[in-house]
């Protein structure tokens, strides 16, 4: 699969944007600037970007509690997101959702989701709409290695097969659900096989490698988009931070985090590949980095300066037409 240069640049820019968004969010949380529960996506960027690079605004994604990366990859406005994390009324969700509920209908982002495996059934609904309207759209849901043990996830997979809808189930195995390893929480030895047992193909990817994810996701999305029913992507990946900010990470092996940052960094891997193929020079990538850093800096400045919500906004936006005919 050859990828045009502008797409390659965009993919790198997106991964870098996610990385820096998350690192900066981490810093701002440590500074006490961001309230609530925040789960960082650092380390998993290639998964979100490798998948979303196949999608357009009409396709939908639904994300998880660890949603920033998926939302950025699908095109959410970074400044609006940062304002949301800061709880401003100018945030993408007017400060009502926060980290776990970032969403943007216009970009086909049906939301991050605070309920583990809350998303897959909803994604099947979006896929069903695509099938009914026969409009060629696909609906992607992201799940973690822990989330796949939730009943709703199984129900969604089976229903997608029964209805033969263009739903794509992306499973990011970062080996942990909170503090528990996949080898404990998933009873069987082969999660990919368990998933395929539901009746759709699952394509495997190296989640530290954009190109690998891009290829696997391309197959899955093509399968779904062409009317062959659901498909899956199974990516092995690693998160560079704790489950939440402040997690002591007693579940890690010694050196595990250093090893991940050293050997499973999608940005490093991307740069290495570019160095090899010569498609984008290091200087050009550096320039992208600088732009991204500036964007993130600007987003934080904007978020800090943005207006705060006021008490009367509490009861707005619950209903569209409560009490009206």
């Amino acid at each position: 699969m050859s990828i045009p240069r502008d797409r390659l640049e965009r993919a790198y820019r997106q991964m870098k944007t996610i990385r820096e968004f998350e690192e900066r969010t981490h810093a701002e949380i440590m500074n006490g600037q961001i309230a609530g529960f925040t789960h960082l996506y650092t380390g998993q960027e290639a998964n979100a970007v490798g998948v979303c690079e196949h999608l357009n605004d009409e396709d939908t994604i639904i994300s998880t509690h660890r949603g920033h990366g998926h939302c950025i990859a699908k095109g959410a406005d970074v400044i609006g997101m940062m304002k949301e994390l800061f709880g401003s009324s100018e945030g993408l969700c007017k400060g009502k959702g926060g980290s776990m509920h970032v969403a943007d209908m216009e970009k086909g982002i049906l939301g991050a989701n605070g309920i583990v495996a809350g998303g897959p059934p909803i994604s099947v609904g979006a896929a069903l709409a695509a099938k009914i309207r026969n409009n060629g759209r696909v609906a992607v849901s992201f799940s973690g290695d822990g989330s796949v043990n939730q009943g709703t996830c199984f129900e969604a997979m089976n229903l997608a097969v029964v209805l033969q809808v263009p739903a794509v189930f992306v499973i990011e195995n970062n080996y942990y659900s909170e503090h528990t390893n996949i080898s404990y929480a998933v009873g069987c030895d082969d999660l990919k096989a368990r998933t395929e047992g539901f009746g759709f193909p699952v394509f495997v990817a190296d989640g530290a490698d954009f190109f690998s994810v891009y290829e696997a996701a391309g197959k899955a999305i093509e399968h779904a988009r062409s009317g062959n029913g659901p498909a899956g992507v199974f990516a092995e990946t690693g998160r560079f931070h704790g489950h939440f900010v402040g997690d002591p990470q007693a579940y890690r092996a010694e050196g595990e985090l250093d090893d991940l940052r050293e050997n499973s960094c999608c940005l490093k891997n991307f740069r290495a590949k570019m160095a090899q193929t010569g498609e984008i020079s290091a200087a050009e990538l550096d320039a992208i980095d600088a732009e991204v850093m500036a964007l993130i800096e600007a987003s934080v400045a904007a978020a800090k300066a943005a207006p705060r919500p006021t008490a009367e906004q509490v009861t707005q936006d619950v209903y569209i037409n409560y009490g009206a005919a």
Binding site: T60, I62, G91, L92, C93, K94, G95, K96, G97, H101, A103, D104, M105, L110, G111, N113, G114, I115, G118, P120, P121, I122, S123, V124, G125, A126, A127, L128, A129, A130, K131, I132, A139, G151, T152, E155, A156, N158, L159, V162, L163, Q316, D317, V318, Y319, I320, N321, Y322, G323, A324, A325
Partner: protein
């Protein structure tokens, strides 16, 4: 005007809404029926209560969609389709089954709009058969709407007759918010005059079933008929009552209730759910807070006791509020 049962009235509303708007579809277990069977008559069922009868044959497999027994996935499918512009009407058979799909209703569908800063709409309708009266015991007899009323973001509809059911269903489908539509299963066969044409009944506007001066009676769902029977019988004793059927417990027509209580000074609330944090308490509490100075007597709450629904017909008869209990409560407010 033709008499139609509540089942037929809702069915007609579905037919008409689907004919008018191709973003409307129905989904649920056996809403068509007989799928997958090598020689079955697909579409012959129309839901276990027959409410979706004929839709498969009229609108085909893309608009009348059978599912596995996976209620969370059914609600999720409705929620997701609604988020991208469809107007699904999902059937969850018995209201009791909210237990296996509550997250999708309460934490997903019901909260999208708020959590997303008002930038989404989720015009999904979820239908349930609710309430007692069939010796269906503890897991197939609950009303459940009182519990759903507690959750902001959801509209909760409880029709008490076929006419209202049709108009409320058409409103539910047209409504841009998620709507939970509770059909008291004891009323499916009850008939009244129902126009053939489409019409809507707005949410949050109570129905006035009886008008009177002495006591305000508020009743929900299948209790409306019983309350009316009690009131009619008391007329002979010179007692006249307002009977208010809120029709939607959320939004609630507080104004109608408060205005009536201001006039009568006496309030009886009737519902078939158990007492705690239920609708009788809710409305008694409303009166205690917002119509206190008009009240002349203790509010009477007529509801099920604090126990699950029993199986045995005699026990269930003693469990559900009866006409007699309602009469006694009305008299008690006047004592």
């Amino acid at each position: 005007m033709a008499e139609k049962t509540m089942r037929d009235a809702i069915n007609e509303a579905l037919h008409q809404a689907m004919a008018q708007d191709d973003s409307v579809f129905v989904i649920g277990e056996d809403v068509a029926g007989c799928n997958g069977s090598p020689s079955g008559d697909v579409g012959a069922v129309g839901g276990v209560f027959g409410v979706t009868g004929g839709l498969y044959k009229a609108f085909g497999p893309n608009r009348c969609i059978d599912t596995p027994i996976s209620e969370s996935a059914i609600v999720g499918a409705a929620a997701g389709a609604a988020l991208v512009g469809m107007r699904p009407v999902a059937e969850i058979m018995f209201a009791d089954f909210i237990g296996v799909c509550m997250d999708q209703i309460v934490n997903q569908m019901g909260k999208f709009r708020y959590m997303f800063g008002g930038k989404s709409k989720c015009p999904a309708v979820i239908r349930f058969a609710s309430g007692g009266g069939f010796s269906a015991a503890g897991q197939h007899s609950q009303s459940m709407y009182q519990v759903m009323t507690s959750f902001p973001g959801l509209k909760v509809v409880i029709p008490s007759n076929a006419y209202d059911a049709k108009g409320l269903m058409l409103q539910a489908i047209a409504d841009d918010d998620p709507v939970l539509f509770f059909e008291p299963k004891a009323l499916y066969q009850e008939a009244c005059e129902v126009p053939d044409e489409m019409y809507t009944i707005p949410f949050g506007e109570a129905g006035f079933v009886r008008e009177g001066d002495d006591v305000t009676v508020v009743a929900f769902g299948q209790m409306v008929n019983r309350a009316a029977a009690a009131i009619d019988a008391l007329e002979g004793e010179g007692i006249s009552c307002d009977l208010i059927d809120p029709r939607t417990s959320s939004p609630l027509d507080e104004g109608a209730i408060l205005e009536s209580v201001e006039a009568t000074g006496r309030l009886v609330v009737v519902d078939e759910s158990p007492p705690r944090c239920g609708l009788t308490a809710d409305i008694a509490g409303l009166a205690a807070s917002k119509a206190f100075h008009s009240l002349k007597a203790p509010v009477q709450q007529v509801c099920a006791p604090h126990s699950p629904t029993p199986f045995s017909p005699e026990l269930e008869a003693a469990y559900l509020p009866s006409v007699d209990k309602i009469s006694a409560a009305i008299k008690a407010t006047l004592a």
